[in-house]
């Protein structure tokens, strides 16, 4: 847990004092990622660098797991905080292995233990240890270097991690991949992380909470969905973008918008039975499933007039199905792509579980605004 208490930093410059951090109060709970977000010069980096005392605060206190950072030896403090920077900062003179073991070596770990740990971490970063451990940084691609940078931050297993735009220098495709890998890892290792970013999409994706800074002050600190649905003022609303409601789609899963009440019919059922079921429920279409429950097509009520026979002979193929765990952004994107206003949802085994509809999704997004008005 990281607690900031009235944290203030004033830089004396030639043009007079500049308030880089203005009485910041916040708590990053154990095991969560807090993204410090804002335009450049807003004080987010200064605030983060005061945690490992790369910048000494003018006033205010910082507590890590309840302990005042002013009371620990600064070198000792830093060795217990993982630090990952935007320029990665791998030491060119050291191999990947020695880079990762930099902090364990400072802490005087046994060489065998630290080298074994380095191999584990490289593997955790989805790289092959036998290939990469003995390489030098200049022999790695940007994405590989960044993974090693993260591995180095984690090497001594610190409870707290500071990350200063750690994925900022990578191309967008690799950035998405590394972000996903990192989130997967974080769900296992549960570090308390302070993460600086200037990218709202990254913040929404990575953050359990987002702290928005403006001119040194913390202006809003909340979960991503609240920041997007209820920005505290016009500055934040502009910063998170006029398409902020669409960004919320990423935070919601198909499961949130799932309609469970949708019936289905078997391939071997009579067409009449299907028509009746749709008329009774007032649905315009129905999903056709196999005996094992896998969706293989659909029927439209309007198409069935005057026809008879088995469902299987008249079914229209399904353009696409979507999984319960997918985020709604993908779901809505699929709807647009296939020009449809509903999708068939399956579980991990491909078994039909229900539908989602455009109406259901818009209703879900809208509910956040209605609740607050009530």
């Amino acid at each position: 847990m990281i607690e900031l208490e009235n944290l203030t930093k004033v830089f004396e410059t030639a043009k007079g004092p500049v308030m880089a951090s203005d009485r910041v109060n916040m708590v990053v709970p154990e095991g969560e990622i807090c993204v410090l977000l804002g335009p450049s010069g807003c004080g987010k980096t200064t605030t983060m660098k005061m945690v490992n005392r790369l910048i000494e605060p003018t006033s205010g206190k910082i507590f890590i797991n309840g302990k005042d950072t002013d009371e620990s030896d600064v070198v000792e403090l830093r060795r217990n905080i993982g630090y990952v920077i935007q320029q990665i900062g791998l030491f060119p003179n050291m191999t990947v292995e020695d880079n990762i073991c930099a902090v364990p070596d400072l802490l005087g770990w046994d060489k065998g233990k630290s080298r074994k740990r380095a191999a584990e971490l490289v593997e955790m970063m989805a790289l092959e240890p036998s290939v990469f451990l003995k390489r030098f940084p200049k022999e790695l691609s940007g994405g590989q270097q960044q993974r090693i940078g993260v591995a180095r931050g984690l090497a001594a297993d610190p409870p707290v991690l500071l990350m200063d735009e750690p994925f900022g220098a990578i191309d967008p495709i690799n950035r998405e991949i590394i972000q996903d890998e990192f989130l997967k890892m974080q769900s296992a290792i549960r570090k308390t992380i302070m993460f600086v970013s200037h990218d709202i999409d990254e913040a929404v994706k990575m953050g359990d909470k987002i702290a928005i800074f403006r001119e040194g002050a913390l202006v809003q600190y909340d979960v991503p969905d609240m920041i997007l649905s209820h920005p505290a003022d016009k500055f934040i609303a502009d910063f998170v973008g006029s398409d902020r409601t669409l960004k919320r789609l990423r935070l919601l899963t198909v499961n949130d918008a799932l309609e469970f009440e949708r019936p289905s019919v078997l391939v071997t059922d009579e067409l009449n039975a299907a028509s009746k079921l749709m008329q009774d429920r007032g649905h315009a279409n129905i999903v056709v499933v196999t005996k094992l429950g896998k969706p293989i097509g659909s029927l439209r009520l309007n198409d069935l007039k005057g026809k008879s026979g088995l469902v299987g002979d008249h079914r229209a193929p399904l353009p696409i199905t979507i999984k319960v765990k997918d985020d709604l952004r993908n779901a809505v994107s699929s709807m647009f792509r296939h020009d449809t206003n509903w999708l068939v949802v399956v579980d991990d085994n491909g078994v039909f579980v229900g539908n989602i509809t455009q109406r259901g999704v818009t209703h879900l997004l809208g509910s956040a605004y209605r609740e607050v008005q009530d």
Binding site: R78, Q87, G89, F91, P92, N93, M94, A102, F136
Partner: protein, 244 residues
């Protein structure tokens, strides 16, 4: 590829032909006899002298120059060091012969003033390259090192020096080239060395004698640079060496 092979083999033949011509020339000039018989003992003795001057003056320059360069690169010195480097830069424009002459006028003749003058001439490139090499280590590397909890001494030893080593070595190579090239002049202030054969040969118009000094000096310069370049290749970390 075919074209490259042709150029390669042609240059080898031209080279061999050149060596052949050189051999004829040496024989005609009586040079081979001069070097292996007439001045043999002189060459051996004076080469020893010569190496002594090189080793002592450049050894002292390295031992002093690198620490001074490091000291100037420390954060609290940076304010002054740019100006100090300017003074040093002017220092390197003074001809080495002038340094020898100045040194003689203070310290008299013999080996000591020669070593002092050679030391001064060798020192500057070493200090300058050490300073430049260390200050060129990117700021974010220092920040990463500080942020992970290295002390300033650890940063210097584990990050700054290893990453500056290639540039520091480049300075040593330049310095030694100047040093080896200047040592023959040391004869002029009575320090001996292979310069004795060269200058006496010129005075007496004895080309054989002159070349008996000049050729070993040239070979020594090449050998010294080779030794230092090998040292550079082996000590500079692979990840930093642009040729590694």
């Amino acid at each position: 590829m075919g074209n490259q092979n042709f150029i390669k083999s042609t240059s080898i033949y031209l080279g061999l032909f050149g060596v052949f011509l050189l051999g004829i020339f040496s024989e005609r000039m009586n040079l081979i006899e001069d070097m292996t018989v007439n001045y043999r003992d002189d060459i051996i003795f004076l080469t020893g002298d010569h190496l002594y001057l090189v080793a002592v003056s450049s050894g002292l320059a390295i031992v002093v120059g690198i620490p001074v360069g490091i000291w100037l690169s420390r954060p609290r010195m940076l304010r002054f060091s740019e100006n100090i480097m300017q003074v040093f830069n002017i220092g390197t424009t003074i001809p080495t012969l002038a340094i020898l002459a100045l040194s003689m006028s203070f310290l008299g003749i013999g080996k000591t003033p020669a070593i002092f003058a050679l030391w001064i001439a060798t020192l500057l490139p070493i200090i300058r390259n050490t300073f430049v090499g260390i200050t060129a280590v990117p700021k974010f590397l220092i920040e990463a090192a500080t942020g992970m909890g290295m002390t300033p001494a650890q940063i210097l030893l584990r990050v700054e020096i290893p990453n500056a080593l290639y540039v520091i070595f480049a300075g040593i190579r330049t310095a030694l080239a100047i040093n080896v090239g200047t040592v023959p002049l040391a004869f002029l202030i009575g320090a001996g060395g292979l310069g004795e054969l060269i200058f006496t040969g010129i005075d007496l118009d004895e080309i054989g004698m002159m070349l008996s000094g000049a050729i070993p000096v040239a070979l020594l310069a090449i050998a010294t640079d080779f030794v230092v370049s090998q040292l550079q290749q082996w000590t500079v970390p692979k990840g930093v060496n642009p040729n590694g």
